[in-house]
Symmetry: C4
Subunit: 454 residues, 4 copies
Amino acid sequence: TIKHGKHIISPNDPHYRLWEMFMILLVLYSAWICPFEFAFLKYLPSEIFLVDNIVNSIFAIDITLTFFVAYVDHKSYLLVDNHKRIAIRYLSTWFIFDACSTFPFHTISLFFNRHGNSLGLQLLSMLRLWRLHRVSSLFARLEKDIRLNYFWTRCIKLLSVTLFAVHCSACFNYMIAERYPDPKITWIGAVIPNFKEISLWIRYVTAIYWSITTLTTTGYGDLHAENTREMLFDICYMLFNLGLTAYLIGNMTNLVVHGTYCTKKFRDTIQAASEFVSRNKFPKHIEEQMLSDICLKFKTEELKQQKILDCLPKAIRSSIAKHLFLPIVQKAYIFQGVSLNLIFQLVSAMQAEYFAPNEDVILQKETPTDLYIIVSGSVEMIAYSGGTEQVHGKVTAGGVFGEIGVLCKVPQPFTIKTIELSQILRLDRTALFDIIQESKEDATIIMQNLNQKL
Amino acid sequence: TIKHGKHIISPNDPHYRLWEMFMILLVLYSAWICPFEFAFLKYLPSEIFLVDNIVNSIFAIDITLTFFVAYVDHKSYLLVDNHKRIAIRYLSTWFIFDACSTFPFHTISLFFNRHGNSLGLQLLSMLRLWRLHRVSSLFARLEKDIRLNYFWTRCIKLLSVTLFAVHCSACFNYMIAERYPDPKITWIGAVIPNFKEISLWIRYVTAIYWSITTLTTTGYGDLHAENTREMLFDICYMLFNLGLTAYLIGNMTNLVVHGTYCTKKFRDTIQAASEFVSRNKFPKHIEEQMLSDICLKFKTEELKQQKILDCLPKAIRSSIAKHLFLPIVQKAYIFQGVSLNLIFQLVSAMQAEYFAPNEDVILQKETPTDLYIIVSGSVEMIAYSGGTEQVHGKVTAGGVFGEIGVLCKVPQPFTIKTIELSQILRLDRTALFDIIQESKEDATIIMQNLNQKL
Amino acid sequence: TIKHGKHIISPNDPHYRLWEMFMILLVLYSAWICPFEFAFLKYLPSEIFLVDNIVNSIFAIDITLTFFVAYVDHKSYLLVDNHKRIAIRYLSTWFIFDACSTFPFHTISLFFNRHGNSLGLQLLSMLRLWRLHRVSSLFARLEKDIRLNYFWTRCIKLLSVTLFAVHCSACFNYMIAERYPDPKITWIGAVIPNFKEISLWIRYVTAIYWSITTLTTTGYGDLHAENTREMLFDICYMLFNLGLTAYLIGNMTNLVVHGTYCTKKFRDTIQAASEFVSRNKFPKHIEEQMLSDICLKFKTEELKQQKILDCLPKAIRSSIAKHLFLPIVQKAYIFQGVSLNLIFQLVSAMQAEYFAPNEDVILQKETPTDLYIIVSGSVEMIAYSGGTEQVHGKVTAGGVFGEIGVLCKVPQPFTIKTIELSQILRLDRTALFDIIQESKEDATIIMQNLNQKL
Amino acid sequence: TIKHGKHIISPNDPHYRLWEMFMILLVLYSAWICPFEFAFLKYLPSEIFLVDNIVNSIFAIDITLTFFVAYVDHKSYLLVDNHKRIAIRYLSTWFIFDACSTFPFHTISLFFNRHGNSLGLQLLSMLRLWRLHRVSSLFARLEKDIRLNYFWTRCIKLLSVTLFAVHCSACFNYMIAERYPDPKITWIGAVIPNFKEISLWIRYVTAIYWSITTLTTTGYGDLHAENTREMLFDICYMLFNLGLTAYLIGNMTNLVVHGTYCTKKFRDTIQAASEFVSRNKFPKHIEEQMLSDICLKFKTEELKQQKILDCLPKAIRSSIAKHLFLPIVQKAYIFQGVSLNLIFQLVSAMQAEYFAPNEDVILQKETPTDLYIIVSGSVEMIAYSGGTEQVHGKVTAGGVFGEIGVLCKVPQPFTIKTIELSQILRLDRTALFDIIQESKEDATIIMQNLNQKL
């Protein structure tokens, strides 16, 4: 619904999102091919040279495109669609890096030098790895997206980092062997003396195999450093691995702790409750009510939900209460005929609770403190007198109970017990009286409703 | 007590539970034999073939049985025992997988082909691994069962996963060697050139040995990849191991943190209290009282128990208070003769606390705020006057103290100190007066009881 | 001070504690010698045989002694010094294990067999490892002792477990090699063909070296399994190592998390405060006051201390307040001449706070809510009028401020700023009036004191 | 601004800080050269000998300097600049260690012995490693400095420890080989038989390569212990590595947990809110308001900021409120002309909140509880009547709303909805009336202001 300036693309445009995903694929290709060319392809085959140039061109298009994409300002949280401001922001931040990583050094060098395989040129083409920053920002966005599973997003990120490290070190280690004067005294030459003549596939797999054997610290020892250059590279790589492995384990621990948190908390609560029960030798019916109430609280995530509600501003909480409870409260016999104004205020003061089957909601003779309205489920009214238990009736969805105690200030005449899983609204006596006080007419109507019932 | 429809089995039926445990055993057998047959048994011996077919038949029976087992609906938490709904639910979810994993591909192939050892057939028989989902749901259930130790349940789960990974990769790695054209250039052939002729036991142990050497990243190097196929498998296996090891460590860290939590919290609290004491140079008797009170709180888990009570609904809390305190409060001299109604209300307002031996409960001259009833243990009444300490009496279980201060509104005449470990009920003055106010008769009786004692 | 029955030793007796420490040393010796004898000493040298028998005798004495040591009952927390109950408890729990682990199987076998080196006998002598349960309970006790550093106690425990695992597996692995028919095809024989003839020291170091190389997953591969028996043992040992390593890392993570908790919390709080300051562009003097207040709170652990106080029962809190504040409050000019009773009640309602140098305690024109008494340090009274700042005086330890605002109900006439680090008592206006109300005489004295000063 | 005694340097003097940084560099040099000389340099080259002596002299200067540097007392938090107290403190703590680590043992030995390469002398020169305690205290300080990133400070610390361990063990292991009688049976001699004659560079790199291969538990096995001495050293080193690796992983886990905490909490809250929405089938507009409110709370860190404010003393909170809100409240039409005294008190009672665009602040017909003043952003006044929505006006920065409801005690006449991101001050009705009550004149002015507007 927001209009943009002329020739401006919104960053949330679905076509632009698709283009971004396509760019990510090209970045992944660049990340793989860059070290590979560096180490294994002394002379670029013409097919790869062509593909590289096409990819470069697409990145050049993307740079141009960026000048037309609006951005969200970090201070005002507003979308900026002014061409000048977009250009200034891009030119003053990442433009120079993007441009360098897209510049076709290789192609240009061919005008001066027929082979174009000098070490300097190869290093310049490594600038393309800058493009990886896009992947990093993609993952930062994915981690905050609740539609995706956090565990697997994080695992895929870690796997990508690991694979990239393995690939890079494999390529670099091979390059050291390739360029060493005596091919026999290299990690690969000691095992395959004529390694420069065998197929690219075998050489690549062997390099990756060495790399991952070192990374995972398996270290079979069938392939190992043979000269000082390789030792120096190995020292650096192993130091890096130490950090990477620790990082992987740290992340996994974090995920496991996060994943088992709920089960552990549930176990701890149930266990503490069970110990409490057995220490005090509670009768069976109290134990059952306690445990089923705790289980229900965990299943319905009542506690979590209450925490969220407490943080929200008052107006939103009122909206929620209105949406949830207004239809039920309006239909309750005790509030028939009172003004909508009053009901609106009552609703904001109410709280919804779940009760497990066979759970006591009110005990007979208790001081009345709340009025209850049933949203779903049903309850029984039971009176104990002279040792016998007598069922006095059943209240179902929409029904009210506890109103006699609260409005007439007498101890509860009945024990109220749920028959099935019930959701029940609770209204505090003090809050009820505070609200009723303001409007005498409504108070009269409520007392009439109660009298009519009795 | 719940009746089911005809020919319906309850999922909690002890006979069905036993059947389920028996099925788990068969699943474990399938999980082990599947990869083993795949790699080591080119031609199935007739004994194993027979056992496989029997197991398959039992699984077929289980599939049929599932159509007669009631299930708990996830929304209403009710048991569904309707044949049609059970069938629809099963057919629309897991039936197809269960059926495929039970289909006797091997037996049928024998009608067409005498040997039945084609790679395709072997892969089809791997479908039996689907049955493992039962083990996974078994563990999910066991983890929530507080009768079992969480640490060991979790460890056994991790051990099972590890052993299965080791077994599978050992089998798969052996199969690669077995099928490689030149047996000398394989991981096992390089060490045991005639490996195809040696006993199955040695081959299996060697494969497992290689597998676990790689999984634990020990990597002796006596057995290692010799050709590209093996290298590729090793690369995948080591990548998987990296994840598995991190997962194992993460889980163990989680368990250790969970296990040492209580000790650490206890230490932190005691340490903070000790520092507080030494910074302020408290006299010895205050220090001892503080530390013994904190130790007692941890031993009796008072704080945890209070947290659970706070979360329970009011009616359950009232039931608990009634069960715990009613007999004691009724016998207290000060409440002799008052109505049960009043006692019932008093009991809901009371709190139980533990006091360590030699701990002060009330200090002389303090403003009275609470009335105390002793549940167990005993206390001394001490008066300090003119620098000397005089013991005025002893109150034992069932006795009341602090009532003079509260009811007559005078500062406490005595210091009350526990003699032994005591559980004491505490009733707040304000709550007491609020409850007494409602019934004048009871208030008179209470004052008479007090006067009689004095 | 507690008397015991005749011939009863208290478990806290310092001599008995020393005896226990001596027993721990013997246990450590047993733990080391047991596997060592098992693997390396086919025929026990007479010196070791003698030492073993002496150690056994001492353990026999300890078993006898246990019948005379009182114990703490887990339910009543009382010391039981009844001979019969002690005996019943010991006989019904650990006696049988202790007796078996002390029984001199080796000595007795010599009567029947001159060599006494059968495998069965060696296994029976492994029963002595049962004694290790004492070390485990020692560590459980040490971990709860706050005089010892938790980090190092835990590290030493883990190191002990690791060393014992290394020692046991080294011995067991050597025994497998020793008993293998062909000494050349063993892990040690492949490197040192005549290993049975070399010195015990070299064999033991080599075994330990292999064991630790495997445990740490270094796996050089210079020593590795050569036959199926060794492979099977290696498989078990590596599986165990996986668990042990994960356990070590889990523990270390736990300790690191615990150790860096304070620094991290301090950083987080300071960082959040700094961001808050920079976002709202606070003037320098507010920023400095905020940060120095937060730093002080962390240094004095005020928040932690408050939490401990909140958990203690009322009487202990009163004792603490009386000890800390009574001398200071009695000397304050405003409470000169009032009854000790009133001061005692005031003191219980007070709270002590630290203020950093140059921190505002009261702002001019603020609504008065508290009365302050300086415990240590000093403050300045500053009045801002017409844009200039004028120092009206200085209040030092024992002085009172804020009393005019509170007692006369006028806005604070001065800004009060600390000159140096000060500890100040704070008394809430409402609490003060509640307490004064009860005694009209004291109220008159307080107002007279104030009038005299003004 | 604080004056010091004569010839006293403040520890915060920028020149002294620079000197300290220079000393750290020298410490790093000492830490590297010490083990290196010990192992590789049998006869010190004269250049290194000279440099060592210069470094020693600088450390001697630093010791002298320490007698002139003031220090902060740990009890009073005051700077001590008394020469005698500084000297006593230094002499009684670290002086003796500093002196020993600076004493030129090597130079002095030359007077007695021309070569000066005895083992005892070399061990004495290892005392220089004591200087490392400076690096440890530097890191302790850096970790608390919030200008530096905690993650990287910690990583650099761990890397330093790791590199030092690698360097030391490499040197020590080489020394063992160097001094072993038969050079062929050493870890390096087995691979390079004439290792004593090759260049220092190759020997050092090989030693470091072995050291890191072992530390990371890669253990290729190309270099490994060959004799008992080396085995013993390896055993110790691997045990140490086990601890170090666990410590590294523990630290990394700690950092990862800390780093992902915010993202995880954000995800959990959003997820719980989404589930709450979908379970109750909320209309779209409530869902959007809920989610945008939660996102905003995380972006502005409102909850964290509130927590910090709650911990600060009252006077600082008043200063902050005054700084933030006084200019806005003074300009609000409703408080035009009231005394500054009253505004000052109102401001202390106010709270600032952020509202996302299109969020309801007040709902029509709600009971009025707060008065609002807009700091930034703007809101719309909407009235729903007869099913249609009518915009009644717009309030921008500095405007007031909700005042009619609060002051006239009528239900809110309008729904107030934000148009853009707004910061709004909230003043509770009760607090407002409490403050106004005290001054009748100001109350009249406020009611006049309201009447004028209506």
